[in-house]
Symmetry: D2
Subunit: 313 residues, 4 copies
């Protein structure tokens, strides 16, 4: 991927922002969690953080939003960091080909989720983290602390109202968790896993925070400003590969085709993406397309790679 | 992807060849087509062709083998070249999540195959090409001619014995073709489509030929030595994205995770891969792992990206 | 099942005919075969033949119509008559739970159809009969001859226009036949099987003919007027059981619940039913409900069992 | 069904008992609930109760065992008794075609179980009963009281150890209950439904008790000795139809084919069956065939209908 010398990141973001404006608000804000349904569809923010730590932004890039499934990326990273390749004995790494909360596949594959970015997979990862931290004397907030390290921001937290709203509507997640427990692929109490999972989904961060938090994946696994090694280069590359094939629900093929960057989306309307060797990116706009990805957000990323000629392919 | 200055391509191939030797022959040669079952599992060849046209090779890199599903890549490229984005009205671009010849998904999605790299998708592409060429006065060998252009080799042809063997055992492909016809997604006679499809699968090429034939995908869509533009840069990038998410049957996620390069495999034991901006690659070893990809071949590609530190991520 | 002394069959049929009149024509005539789409939805006929051979009828009970899937009952009976229990090595006897022409189940069960009353199962039965008769020196019309024996009517034949129309639109059946051949569960040429199958579906008979043709199933396997033993008592009972659980597509549970008689329906609008120990029944009305059974016909049968207090339960 | 004058019920049971002896113990005792695994596979009991209340029995016909899924028959009867046809708005009446605790079908059909005899359907029925009785001021033991009425036995109760063992291993049921709740097809708290369901499964009864308890279904819905009308004749006939098509898990077609009687089985090894107009039947032997029905029990019922020439067909 050759850098395009003609256009700097700020100019790029401004052009993308201008071009995407007519599309902001098109699609549907996630409504199955009442608290999320309250967010206005008219927000749009985008941010880039390069390997020197420089921040470029446009629109509502500093407004915190519910990161939702983007937390699955941090959960997987933390589990991979702590447990290494043993993670893959309990969760696969293939695209699912079906909606993110499907039970069909889980039944066919006897309780082993296809990948860590569908809900079932993230529940297993959450279970691993609970076991790990319980064995080390409590650790309610290990995930929050980890994200603070990655994003270099001390006050990241979760929104209690969203977490509670999430928990009250999580019957399908409870179905999957019980189902995996029936196959022996969940070690902790189902309710504890669901609660931790809902809390992680309810973490609130801005585009700038999130772009910063994923920059280590563009930097061979090391946080650029602290040089802290989160993952080795090989592991970081693998997380990127997983994002590309599984990061955007059952639109991953289409997303790779159109955008061509490793990315992870959430139903709060956020999408993080990685340009290996260059930068971390985050875009946010709450209205979603049918697969659950931000509509304006994914178009913005497509514009960004088309205008800049940058992608991994 | 930064080039690794320490190791040149020839050294890299020699080291990979040496390291993979103990694994050559592990796995199973495809047996459902009698002609393929006759090939010795002990072959191994690998070749790289860079953007200057330089050829690097090791092992049996000049022995022709049956390209099988690698022909799907050339079929899609030709259809995309001729028809552009209208291709996607009849075939999707999502990973299938199920075996390459599954009918279940085809039923759920009412006759529109998930992507052009599963058999059903390739049958639709074949149907498009038949219609296109029939309208222009015959053209039995359009595909062969196209591959000759890409590979700069005048004597590429197909193996009649393999094509016939293939046709006689193609009941499942006939099932899928009839099924798609029942949904209106096949315009030509089913037998004509099957015959053309089997002929394309039976094309015989060597690693060197194939590495050369895919180099345009590493060069923004242009054949390096002739500067002939096969696809525009954007389209070439998209074909690469499709290979990454769908090119290696239902092991695509795992392959992206381990190898990290766009690739397309065939049950003849060949795998082509692309390093954007750098080179085309082909590896061949006939014994397959459970998903239908060459076992030694995919390990060799994993070694190649690990040893060189090169991948798209 | 105690006979209801109050109401004789003729009175019963007249009352059912009067009561069902407002519903005749509701639903949709099968349109996927052009020839069937030409039939007026306003027909309604019903006939009963008791074990003494007495015929009771109302409405259009002597107009021939396309028996379609009712031929599956005769095919199975003939195969069971000729081959006995070895039939069950190639076809199951469980309700399918999915539409009559689904390929999903066939894939899960590796080419062995769920039961002989779904299309896939009937194709296997047709294949058995082809093999059987081919080995005995031709026998194009074995099925026709068999039905003539059962119905005591010399001029039963098939409608060539319907058979041809059927064959031209049988891509999905061709898909299933090829699919089963790929699993080794079809011995004859796919085209030969499809052609024989389409011819059997195109047999034309009236309600009176059909009621007569199934009376042996109410008489422990013997044709009442000739005393010819078609099946032993145990086998006849088993065919009835299969009709009850599998005879009316994926509405079999509902049909058993509402009507409570063994029955086999066809998309031509006919339904045959059996009252063990009492009589054979046939009703016909071309407009179908969503599962492919005659709408007015199934309501008429429900009325018939409710009014008479007769059913097997 | 003509009564066979040659053989009285006692002679029939003695012959069946003698003939089935070599098969007792073949198969596997249910092991997923630890308490059930403790039962010896060598038990065999059988009982018939006719419409005059006469009891015929052989073997261990007075030893209580865990009725398990046979409770689904009593649950449905009670719900149908209380709510009438509105039951069918929340549960279907088609054979499922898949294992009794599958989630796949539940997903395809958006939370409405196929029939009341698979676990998901019984959970919905349990939910209906909880709502009904809660609205009428508590009623923990409504089911127990109902069964006491049917079986004319005052001391029917449930086994607390089995109920608790059941509850602790009911993750898959919890998965289904949560899943249906996510579709809005469960009104009470998931844990309350599971607990009531497990208690019902843990009811302990003998063959004699159970044969007596189902005799009303052979008697047009009325308990013979008390003349209490539980269901009208039409509803009783419909329950019998449901048992025939859905009562023996995914072997219902085979069971109808071989036995030819409406029946409901449980993984405790019991099977109840009904001869309309004649008698209630119960057989028990703990070792199961692959579908979860008592192996010796189902063979015994097949012998019983073959030897007597009695069945509904």
């Amino acid at each position: 991927m050759a850098a395009n010398p003609v256009m700097d990141y700020q100019t790029l973001l401004d052009r993308v922002h201008a071009a995407v404006k007519p599309l902001i608000g098109a699609g549907k804000v996630a409504s199955y969690i009442p608290e999320l349904a309250k967010v206005s569809p008219d927000h749009f923010g985008i941010a880039i953080v390069d390997l020197q730590g420089n921040v470029y932004q446009a629109g509502d890039a500093e407004i915190p939003f519910s990161i939702q499934s983007i937390s699955k990326l941090f959960g997987l990273t933390l589990a991979f960091h702590l447990e290494g390749d043993s993670v893959w004995s309990r969760v696969g790494r293939e695209p699912s080909g079906t909606p993110f909360n499907s039970l069909v596949q889980l039944e066919q594959e006897r309780g082993k989720p296809r990948n860590p970015f569908i809900n079932a997979g993230a529940l297993v990862i959450t279970d691993m983290l609970l076991t790990h931290h319980a064995a080390r004397g409590g650790a309610e907030n290990a995930m929050i602390r980890f994200i603070r390290t990655l994003s270099d921001k001390a006050d990241v937290g979760y929104d209690r109202a969203v977490a509670e709203s999430e928990r009250l509507t999580s019957h399908r997640n409870a179905a999957m968790a019980n189902f995996m427990k029936s196959f022996g692929n969940l070690n902790n109490d189902v309710n504890d896993v669901i609660e931790a999972y809902c809390r992680n989904c309810a973490i609130a961060m801005s585009c700038v925070d999130l772009a910063r938090a994923v920059t280590f994946l563009a930097n061979q696994g090391a946080v650029p400003w602290s040089n802290e090694k989160i993952l080795d280069a090989n592991a970081a590359k693998r997380i990127n590969a997983l994002m590309l094939t599984c990061g955007t629900y059952d639109a991953a093929g289409d997303f790779a085709f159109r955008v061509g960057l490793p990315a992870k989306s959430g139903v709060g309307g956020g999408i993080v993406a990685v340009m290996p060797g260059e930068c971390g990116i985050c875009v946010w706009s709450p209205a979603l397309e049918a697969s659950g990805n931000s509509y304006a957000g994914s178009v913005a990323l497509e514009m960004l790679t088309s205008m800049s000629g940058r992608s991994i392919f």
